[in-house]
Amino acid sequence: MKFLNHLTLGQYVPADSPVHRLDPRCKILSVVVLLAGIFLMVHPVAFLAWGGLLLVLARFSRVPFRVVLQGARPVVMLVIFTAGIHLFLTKGVVLWEWGPVSVTREGVTMALRMGLRLFFLVLFAGFLTLTTSPMELSDGLESLFRPFQRFGFPAHEMAMMMTISLRFIPTLFDETDRILRAQLARGADLEHGGLFRRLKAFIPVLVPLFVIVFQRAEDLALAMEARCYQGGSGRTRMNPLEWKKSDTFAIAGVIGIVAFFVLLDLKG
């Protein structure tokens, strides 16, 4: 029996590919550009091009396409819900009617646009975490946010917090799985009954989980303290980030492609 065995959101797939080798800062900025581009899309048809781009990226990064798609699984419900709302609640030329429910042409366009937009946002954002290890990611963010430090923004602390939380996600999943099994062994029934009963059935899992989370946080704080951790000032790094020519090319390429897509889309 598998309980919590299928989660790839934010899971790093190690590989030696051109995309993996890029500087994390380059990848973060590229994703920002890509996401901005997706937000500017108006025509649902334009997403065909984005799909193509996704395929090319998957090819370059040697991440199996199946894994890339799995990243969107957690938001499928959200996508369907959003699309559904737009489908039924947009006013315009009525295509189909049944009692109080009606579907309009504008509704169909809106539903497709919103649904696809969300879907592609998640897929492209997922690419970043699929090809960048959590360490690199937080290093990259720290470096990108460093200019804001002079305004009092705690770049290092934020990056450290992020690293730690990412690091603990798998641990907490294991922990949850263990508690789940322990309560199942005491006859807990998580699969039957209405929504409310099922939510209530999770209390015996959530309470111990919270206890463990706090305990772990305290232990970790102590362990860091014991090694004289004192924040970012004067800290050097083992693998300094290095911006290479290929990074410049990559980001220029991404900006070029996105600009091209947007222009094409605006023209219709």
Binding site: M1, E175, R178, I179, R181, A182, Q183, L184, A185, R186, G187, A188, D189, I203, P204, V205, L206, V207, P208, V211, I212
Partner: protein, 280 residues
Amino acid sequence: MSIRVDSLCHVYHSGTPLETQALSGVDLLVERGEWVAVVGQTGSGKSTLAQHLNALLLPSSGWVKVDNIPTTAGAAELREIRRKVGLVFQYPEHQLFAESVREEMAFGPRNWKFPEEEIERSTWKALDLLGLSQDLLDRSPLQLSGGQKRRLCIASVLVSKPDYLVLDEPTAGLDANGRNELLRILKKLVEEGLGVVHVTHDLELALTMADRILVLEKGKAVFCGTPESLLDELLERPVRGLCLPPLLEFVSRLRSYGYSVPYTLDSELLADCLEREIRS
């Protein structure tokens, strides 16, 4: 009336690159009123086996039958199997969630729809068996001491009146007192007719407490029999996956020097024999 495990195999993550064979062809029989120890190193498949006994994991092949009902039977039978075979996980303190000891104890029986009066009676009995005072009933489980928490967890499983109790490293992290106390309680439960499966990496504990011992190594059963026969076996040749307890090392050394002392973990018997040897 017994738990029967027959040529049990279990494969984790079947069909993925992470595929691992955790158990291959394990047989085991656990009768009521019997203490069976499952010994092996980390990763030998002990915990996987333990979770098969109450259908938390299902066999990839082979079968597990509890009182002749296979664990692969329908949902209703499965719930009954989970009640019959109580499972206490490693560090069970992490499962405590309720506001009071009373509520914690009632969790299992309520899931199995015990009537309220019976829950109360059963709670008293289980707390008493585990040597926990009834004054604790309204305390928060999180306020108890480490040893008390451990015993509360076991009580919270016993309260559902299982016929078998599977414990995964029940003595891990307990001090010597807590450990001995727990072992004494388990011994008493076995005498009262409970079937106990004790999963441990501590060979000495298994040799001194169990009626029968199953030794696992890399998912395979390398030995199954009484402690006496395991000692005989160890005397002949090392058993894969087992490290000798210091006392047995000591006895082997003595025997290799020519002292005729019995190959045993009974320190009193050993001291007597050694004294006789030295005097003669």
